[in-house]
């Protein structure tokens, strides 16, 4: 047990990687073996993530460092830590929990999502590769490995978006996403190269001790902000997101949202841990706030006029990214002056991450079930599915209400924190956020009405298999559980994550650099 705890950080990444490499070979043994293997890999990964999070939270939130290929402590006498390292603090563990939730649900859902039973081994392989990449993004403590994992997620995501090669729009979306992900990855690489050239090290803790706010640091920060914000899908660099989320298979859309959140996590990590207060934090905070307001506003208004169910949800997902950016931008803008509401804002933003992935995931999965059942994704020709798909109807409604921030679901709890803290900085921010939430409710009322209510427009919809329902029920349980007991979950998992950003820079650096 002890050994497992020690090696948990790398096992979280290595297990899905093993799944990705072995899936095509295992797939030759038939559908049952393949499915059982995928389930086992997902369950194991989830267990490791839970174990890691439990270890971290019971250990008082001190960062855990794992060194690949060697032991701690590092050889003495080195100016910079040159090992490949994973560093896990409260925020990383929180993101790992989100990714584990998404991974387990996506694999469970995928079991019966594909009507044809061949070719799924490659899908499993790509899905596990994407999951391994996202885990790597949130656990690594090294800028270059961060870039490597970014590229892994890009390649896997493109493969998955274009997986249905028989549809022209999927291939087109995959191509666009490939180009844009590569572009953002290259700019991140350029920033990493600038930092490496200046400081001769790539470890985040080492860089954080040395950054001085020179012009090169500023250019690197601008490249990182732009590149990561694009991968997160912030307006006006969001155009790939509706196409990607819309064209990907339903479970992949959910994992892609987690992938976007991992980019957002990376942005926060860069801002709070890498740069901290070495730059004029207020200006950077306000850049994020402006991007966030644009994201919320454009995402919501574009969702209102979509005619395609998945694109509609995709624009909703884009707008939610804005809420997290807004909250953390507010937190970063006041980092230097440190009033109380900064921590509240960050807590709200981080709590909203897991809430968002649960609601949006639930919506994507329910929409996937509805589209699979009716064979259409056009809001005009769908309708009346509530007559035959009762469970899916209820689950979609739960997700829609939660996303729009209707009490008592989880979206309300985190949005309340965001509203109240942003109000302290500027009432305008809170007003826009509340208004956008109301419009979002209208958007999902429209989607719900179009897809599920009314007379039977689809003659004989296909029933939804039980693994799909079960995976949606898991997400709905998260939605309702986090909604009914927000205080408990904020205490246990969100506060350590928020503290890691708000005041954890010193601990993060000390865990590697000592002293």
């Amino acid at each position: 047990m002890n050994a497992l705890t020690t090696h948990a950080p790398i096992l979280i990444i290595a297990t899905p990687l093993l799944g990705a490499f072995a899936a095509p070979l295992i797939g030759k043994l038939g559908w049952t073996v393949r499915t059982a293997f995928a389930g086992a890999i997902a369950a194991l990964t989830g267990c490791f993530a839970g174990l890691l999070a439990a270890t971290l939270y019971t250990g008082g939130g001190a960062p855990i460092v794992y060194v690949l290929g060697g032991r701690l402590p590092l050889p003495s006498g080195l100016a910079a830590p040159i090992r490949i390292m994973l560093e896990v603090d409260g925020l990383s563990a929180f993101m790992a929990l989100i990714t584990a939730l998404v991974a387990v649900v996506a694999v469970l859902y995928s079991v019966s999502y594909w009507k044809e039973r061949s070719g799924g081994a490659l899908y499993d392989s790509l899905l596990f590769l994407l999951i391994a990449g996202v885990f790597g993004l949130v656990l690594t403590g090294d800028m270059f490995n961060f870039f490597v994992f970014l590229e892994i997620t890009s390649v896997a995501a493109c493969g998955l978006i274009g997986f249905r090669t028989w549809r022209k729009r999927s291939s087109e979306a995959a191509f666009k996403v490939m180009a844009l992900y590569t572009l953002s990855g290259l700019f991140v690489l350029l920033a990493v190269g600038l930092l490496y050239g200046q400081y001769g090290g790539l470890n985040i803790a080492y860089l954080a001790t040395n950054l001085g706010g020179t012009m090169v640091d500023r250019v690197a920060l601008a490249l990182l902000i732009a590149g990561l914000a694009m991968k997160a899908g912030a307006v006006p660099m969001h155009m790939w997101a509706p196409e990607a989320y819309g064209e990907a298979p339903a479970p992949v859309s959910m994992v892609l949202v987690a992938n976007s959140q991992a980019s957002l996590y990376a942005l926060f990590r860069v801002l709070f841990t890498l740069y901290g207060q070495s730059l004029s934090a207020a200006a950077v905070g306000w850049i994020l706030i402006v991007l966030a307001l644009l994201t919320i506003f454009v995402g919501v208004t574009m969702a209102l006029v979509q005619k395609d169910l998945k694109r509609l949800i995709a624009f909703g997902a884009v707008s939610q990214i804005g809420y997290m950016l807004l909250a953390v931008g507010v937190g970063f803008a006041v980092l230097a002056t440190r009033p109380d509401f900064g921590l509240t804002a960050i807590t709200g933003g981080i709590f909203h991450m897991i809430n968002d992935v649960a609601c949006i995931g639930l919506l994507f999965l329910a929409a996937g079930a509805a589209i699979r059942a009716s064979g259409s994704r056009d809001l005009h020709s769908m309708g009346g599915l509530a007559h035959s798909l009762k469970g899916t109807t209820v689950l979609f409604a739960v997700g829609a209400f939660a996303l729009a921030g209707v009490p008592p679901f989880n979206g309300f709890a985190s949005k309340l924190l965001i509203y109240e803290s942003t109000f302290q900085l500027s009432p305008v921010l809170a007003v826009i956020a509340v208004l956008a939430s109301i419009v979002l409710l209208a958007v999902f009322v429209r989607a719900f009405q179009a897809v599920f209510l009314g007379p039977r427009l689809i003659a004989r919809p296909e029933p939804v298999p039980w693994p799909m329902v079960a995976s949606m029920v898991v997400l709905a349980a998260v939605v309702i559980g986090f909604g009914l007991f927000p205080g408990f979950f904020i205490d246990k998992i969100v506060t350590p994550a928020a503290n890691a950003l708000w005041s954890g820079q010193g601990d993060y650096i000390r865990a590697v650099m000592g002293g």
Binding site: I10, A14, L17, L18, P24, L25, Y66, R71
Partner: protein, 156 residues
């Protein structure tokens, strides 16, 4: 469709492909001593495959190298790499458990400037072989898949 290229290309390919493959394997083999390694060597071997495929088309394969076999080999390479990484987990993931053990590739490295001892490096040479296998088969199967797509299109 005649997917072969001109006689000049074919003749030069016949002369060079063997040398390219040998050089690629050399790069993989000495990956822990000289510049290069599994990825570079694998790419060089794959470029020999590419030369053959471009010059002679898929007709030259004669069913010996179908891409199912290549994909299986690629998976084996990837799994071998990951397995070697897992093997060190007694100490840490990726720990080199064969170094200085006296077993295959477990020779000690003499101190001071030297030409490099092939019998050293522990698990590193095995990892180079695993990566080399993955890269050469992976790239070759991409090319074969493209060429097969081409042949199908021509048949339609």
């Amino acid at each position: 469709m005649n997917n072969q290229m001109s006689v000049i290309v074919r003749t030069i390919t016949r002369i060079t492909y063997g040398l390219t493959i040998v050089f690629g394997f050399y790069v993989i083999m000495h990956g822990h001593l000289t510049p290069g390694g599994g990825f570079q060597g694998g790419a060089v071997v794959a470029s020999a495959f590419a030369l053959l495929l471009v010059a002679f088309g898929t007709a030259g394969l004669k069913g010996k190298l179908n891409h199912h076999l290549l994909q299986t080999l690629e998976e084996v390479g990837a799994l071998a790499f990951l397995g070697l990484a897992f093997a060190g987990i007694g100490t840490a993931f990726f720990a080199n458990l064969l170094a200085n053990s006296g077993a295959v590739f477990g020779g000690a490295v003499p101190a001071g400037p030297n030409a490099g001892v092939l019998n050293s490096g522990g698990t590193l040479p095995f990892m180079n072989w695993a990566v080399g296998l993955k890269v050469m088969t992976g790239i070759a199967s991409i090319l074969i898949a493209m060429l097969i797509g081409l042949r199908k299109e021509a048949a339609e």
